[in-house]
Symmetry: C2
Subunit: 218 residues, 2 copies
DNA sequence: TAGATTGTTAATCGATTAACAATC
DNA sequence: TAGATTGTTAATCGATTAACAATC
């Protein structure tokens, strides 16, 4: 979940709120969606209106990284997209491994947006004897016991945890001793990792709870 | 994504930050995980340590809704679970519809945690002629054109959008004219809904961007 | 009693936003 | 020039946290 808890520091040493980071991603999505519509420039006002964000917030977010606009013209769509992709580290590709080939793991395996932005799933693991060895959507499912070797051989950057919650910490520990430097945990169990690992916890049930809480008030 | 943007008001009229709401869900998950371990009480300190949250934050979050602890003892695990479930509206069941039977839609269809907490998927829709009529994990896939009737007949509460982004707003509009009062949008396209609808936007690519941004700095 | 732990107050911290000078 | 829009400053707003009295 993208909260304002974790912060990063940009290349100039400035602290960047992680909510800013989340919004930069939204800006990129929006620019992608209007690209090719004929317009060349866009204002912070227009971006803000589309995304329900104040224009000052848009400009402030960008100001952490430089000056990219032109007074009275706004931002060049193509240039801003390039800038955002650079900020978000999307000017290179990343190798990811999925651990836990359930429904969610399979969904991520086929998630087109990931490929589009340069995230490549290069290995898939499970501990279920019935699944190991199977070819699943073009990916051979490996035994979790061969995790260390395969991750090292492929110098994998990102680990995706889609196991049952009970296995999350064990899997995370395994990842932390490998080349993996970023982890996305899709289980409802919080995990602990050393500070040199970037961790994103994505708990989908919390999104449903926010809805049920709200509906229940009525 | 659970940000601190949307707020709700509790039954006493107090404003509740939505980050508080997200944490309440985490507390519940944690209590679920230690339930049956033999302990009867737990302190805010212990909850905080497990979830990497300050004990004062835990107590503050709970204080929006009442006083549930006992001085020098902490909280009764069973009682606190009950309280959290009530706050989160989990003392009843909800009927949900999924629109878009791709990989993510299928994953949610089989998401055990949802059933566990009382979210029941009662109808599944798509606009793909090849999918319509098929029985998918026990659910017949309906034509999106029959959406209005089926949602009304089943008085569905929650709409889950797992279509391609391009269809998100159209689908959302359809939902807003139905009995649906809560929407979860899994596409990367932001949608607009009237203020009486609770909207949760879940953009999974943003979680990957947070990782790539971080790895790219190194 | 001493120790543990609550609930709440007040201080601090950080993020958002209004205002505005600069300028294309 | 007048209008549009930037980048930044300073004010505001809101969330987190330290401190502590209360009390089991």
């Amino acid at each position: 979940m993208l909260t304002n808890k974790t912060q990063t520091t940009n290349k100039y040493g400035k602290r960047v709120p992680s909510l800013t980071l989340a919004r930069l991603g939204q800006y990129l999505h929006f620019l992608d969606s209007i690209d090719g519509s004929g317009a060349f420039n866009i204002s912070s006002k227009a971006i803000g209106e589309a995304l329900d964000i104040k224009p000052t917030q848009v400009r402030k977010d960008l100001s952490f990284f430089g000056e990219f606009g032109q007074k009275s013209k706004g931002y060049d769509i193509f240039d801003l997209k390039k800038v955002l992709m650079e900020i978000l580290g999307l000017n290179q590709t990343y190798k990811a491994a999925i651990i836990g080939v359930g429904n969610l793991g399979s969904a991520l395996l086929n998630f087109k947006s990931l490929t589009q932005y340069g995230f490549k799933i290069v290995a898939v693991f499970d501990n279920d004897k019935h699944k190991i060895g199977m070819v699943h959507y073009g990916h051979k499912i490996y035994d979790i016991s061969s995790f260390k070797d395969i991750v090292a051989d492929n110098s994998i950057d990102i680990g995706i945890i889609t196991t049952p919650g009970a296995a999350a910490q064990t899997v995370a520990d395994l990842m932390c001793e490998s080349t993996i430097r970023g982890i996305i945990n899709f289980t409802t169990k919080k995990i602990k990792v050393p500070s040199f690992i970037r961790l994103q916890e994505v708990d989908l049930t919390l999104e449903f709870f926010a809805i049920s809480h709200h509906l229940n008030l009525k």
